[in-house]
């Protein structure tokens, strides 16, 4: 008996030793010989390689693991990563979390021994959650490449913990050709009332025109974030602007919820979809309605451009596309521009090994400086705030810039302040779906509750 116990104990000890060892040693990659800057960035090659040698470390042995946030960019990242590995021999693993599960996936992956070395922090709250894991990026090569500090996330001490590598805009994507068919131009739409007039008219004549005003306001998980996230953000933005909110508030008032209701009612009423079935209509279906010319308006973002003009998909003519601001009946909104901001901030895992951190920094620097990287970024993300950025062909960014050039104000991404984002949004979606099926005031109260009380609850959950 004693012998048994002794043997078994030995076994257990061996296992636990194995466990403690495996957390330290990382993958032995086969690239130790290849020099990391064998094909440096096109434009500023000398500078980057100098900087790299200043740091005195080479990335040999390091590898990159990027936990990507955007499923639609997955393909492009995979290809870019393969190119980088081909050129430098540094292994780059890109993994994309399924939609709506980034925080779950990140939590799970970070607990693993091979944790992501490069991940995404969406907002201040994300930074608060992951601050310990975010490397201070001030002074790194990639940081010095940036043209603006606007999209970066800093901690309380002012250290740059995550860098906004792109920015995006969303609004109401409009098909100018269909608008013309109905006898309107984009100039006719300058505020909520004019938008409503046009949309109501198109909806009324939809039988004769062969298309409707808005696409279905799909509330399936693949589409609902456009409303629970992006549309609520407009209401949040005006509220925060009035109250000079600069950090995550513990409570919100829902002051502009009536405006939110205006635009939501418009989306639901002026579309061909049955309001009772919105909870099952998917993002693909809504996109198809716009892409195939069944609807003139589509609330979406700059990232949608590639899908719409892709000849394999919908093959729309870029000249027919324009993005309008989201009007909802707020005073002075004729001066509003698009909703611009970013949820895309890179953070480097400070708890990764030295080699992996260096490899990761080298990789992102390459992404924003090399020809391949900047081309891919321009295609996928539009304009990026880096010196070597390429001009994107995406017309929606032109709209964003034009409106700003006209001196209009940007509707900032207030949703980045949302506490416990996924859960808060889930509550809004539940309430919105019920309200759409039966648009009574009582049901709108539930939307309000989900918005106002939900915020307080999630704030408490997040910080408790």
């Amino acid at each position: 008996m004693k012998k048994f116990t002794a043997m078994l104990l030995t076994g257990m000890i061996a296992i636990s030793m194995l466990a403690s060892c495996s957390s330290g040693g990382n993958t032995a990659s086969s690239d130790s010989s290849s020099s990391k800057e064998s094909k440096p960035a096109s434009s500023e090659s000398s500078k980057t390689s100098e900087a790299a040698s200043d740091n005195g470390s080479t990335a040999s042995g390091g590898s990159v693991y990027y936990l990507n946030f955007k499923p639609e960019a997955d393909q492009a990242w995979q290809e870019l990563a393969a190119t980088y590995t081909e050129q430098t021999g540094v292994p780059v693993k890109v993994v994309t979390a399924a939609g709506g599960t980034y925080s779950d996936t990140l939590t799970a992956e970070m607990a693993k021994s091979e944790a992501p070395t490069l991940f995404q922090v969406g907002n201040k709250q994300g930074l608060a959650d992951w601050n310990d894991y975010c490397l201070d990026l001030s002074g790194t090569d990639v940081y010095t490449q940036m043209t603006t500090d606007d999209f970066n996330l800093k901690d309380d001490d002012g250290a740059v913990k995550a860098i906004g590598y792109c920015y995006e805009a969303y609004g109401i994507i409009t098909n100018k050709a269909l608008l013309a068919e109905a006898g309107y131009t984009v100039e006719d739409i300058t505020d909520f009332d004019s938008l409503k007039a046009v949309a109501d008219d198109i909806h009324a004549r939809s039988g004769e025109l062969g298309f409707d005003a808005f696409t279905s306001a799909g509330l399936d998980g693949s589409s609902s974030w456009r409303y629970s996230g992006h549309l609520t953000s407009v209401a949040l933005f005006y509220e925060f602007r009035d109250d000079n909110v600069t950090e995550q508030p513990a409570t919100v008032t829902g002051k502009y919820l009536d405006n939110f209701r205006n635009i939501w009612d418009l989306y639901v009423n002026d579309s061909s979809a049955d309001p009772a079935t919105l909870s099952t209509s998917t993002g693909d279906m809504c996109e198809a309605e716009f892409g195939t010319g069944k609807a003139a308006f589509f609330q979406q973002g700059t990232w949608e451009y590639a899908n719409l003009v892709d000849p394999e998909k919908y093959g729309m003519n870029p000249d027919d596309l324009v993005m309008l601001p989201i009007y909802c009946g707020v005073d002075g909104e004729e001066n509003a521009a698009l909703c611009c901001g970013t949820e895309n901030c890179w953070a480097v895992n400070a708890k990764a090994s030295e080699e992996d951190i260096q490899a990761t920094l080298d990789f992102i620097n390459w992404v924003v400086t090399s020809d391949e990287g900047t081309t891919m970024m321009a295609d996928q993300f539009g304009p990026i705030p880096f010196k070597a950025a390429k001009e994107p062909e995406n017309v929606f960014f032109a709209d964003a810039n034009r409106l700003l050039a006209e001196g209009k104000y940007t509707v900032g991404w207030a949703f980045t302040y949302t506490p416990n984002t996924d859960s808060w949004r889930a509550g809004i979606v539940t309430a919105l779906a019920a309200y759409s099926a039966d648009p009574s005031d009582a049901n709108w109260e539930n939307v309000k509750t989900a918005y106002v009380d939900g915020w307080a609850i999630e704030y408490a959950a997040q910080n408790g």
Binding site: M1, F4, T5, I15, L18, A19, S22, S23, L67, P71, E72, D74, Q75, K93, V95, T96, A98, G99, G100, T101, T105, A108, E109, A111, K112, S113, E114, D220, G221, S222, S223, W225, T280, S281, T282, G283, D284, M285, E287, A288
Partner: protein
């Protein structure tokens, strides 16, 4: 006698109808897997018509849909199931024999721990199991069978010990007198006698491992490996692109092998399940 056969005709008809109703959900998936994306949602119960019929397109699309080749998920599911079940059968049958024949204090403790593990829900250990499995690099399809052996040992050992207790000692004693060592005795004599239990345990464990979602979802390095249930859930959850037609095709593809296997060995499966349930 006359009356009885009228009764049984009615019964047969009723049950024939009930069986057909029972199959509707599967049939539903089948018809939708031939319809284009938009029509699955619009008219879920309609047969494919000229407008909505897309032939095998959904199946072709389903193979690569969701940025992960479906066949790869199938491959990993097969690999994990086969290796895990083989490992469980081999190791736990040996252990059960040892426990019964040696019957030491340690064996009894181990046996009671196994009984205990049968009433512990997975939620109790899932978070910590995830950490442990990651540390020990049990997060690949090649090593995850160890986790399955560990977590599934309880029921299997319980079922095997129940059977081994009923085996006559005389045969083994005779073998021992003839100079037959334990290894040869086990593989030559015991294992063949365990066949019925091996089949029951094998079927129960196969059904568990093949359909298991949460354990591989948490333990596997999801970034590289998916199993069929994970794949299906992934398709449902992705942002923006939910192609219902292709998803239906994927579901159909995941059900077909089960139905084929079931058709071939349904007798064993039903017997095994009944035996397992009575024991458990």
């Amino acid at each position: 006698m006359e009356k009885k056969s009228v009764g049984s005709i009615i019964l047969t008809v009723v049950f024939a109808l009930l069986s057909l109703i029972w199959l509707i959900p599967i049939f539903e998936v089948l018809i939708n897997s031939f319809k284009s994306n938009a029509f699955v949602n619009l008219e879920p119960f309609a047969f494919p018509n000229a407008e909505s019929f897309v032939g095998m397109d959904n199946y072709v699309k389903g193979m690569t849909f969701g940025n992960y080749p479906f066949m790869q998920s199938v491959g990993y599911s097969v690999l994990i199931t086969v290796v895990s079940v083989a490992l469980i059968l081999l190791c736990t049958s040996m252990t059960a024999w040892y426990i019964i024949r040696v019957n030491s204090f340690f064996c009894k403790i181990f046996y009671y721990l196994c009984l205990f593990s049968m009433i512990v829900p997975f939620q109790m250990v899932m978070f910590t199991l995830t950490f442990t499995a990651d540390r020990l690099k049990l997060n690949t399809p090649y090593t995850i069978p160890i986790v399955y052996l560990g977590f599934g040992a309880g029921l299997a050992i319980f079922m095997f010990t129940g059977f081994v207790k009923g085996l006559p000692l005389e045969i083994e004693e005779a073998a021992a007198i003839d100079g037959c060592g334990p290894v040869r005795t086990f593989f030559g004599i015991i294992l063949p006698m365990l066949k019925p239990t091996l089949i029951s345990v094998g079927i129960l464990q196969t059904m568990w491992v093949w359909n298991d979602y949460l354990l591989p979802y948490l333990v596997l390095d999801r970034t590289k490996y998916m199993t069929i249930p994970i794949h299906v859930q992934y398709l449902k959850g992705s942002y923006g692109t939910v192609d219902l037609g292709a998803t239906m095709a994927v579901i159909m593809l995941s059900i077909i092998p089960i139905i084929i296997a079931y058709a071939f060995c349904q007798k064993h499966i039903i017997k095994g399940v009944a035996a397992g349930a009575v024991k458990g």
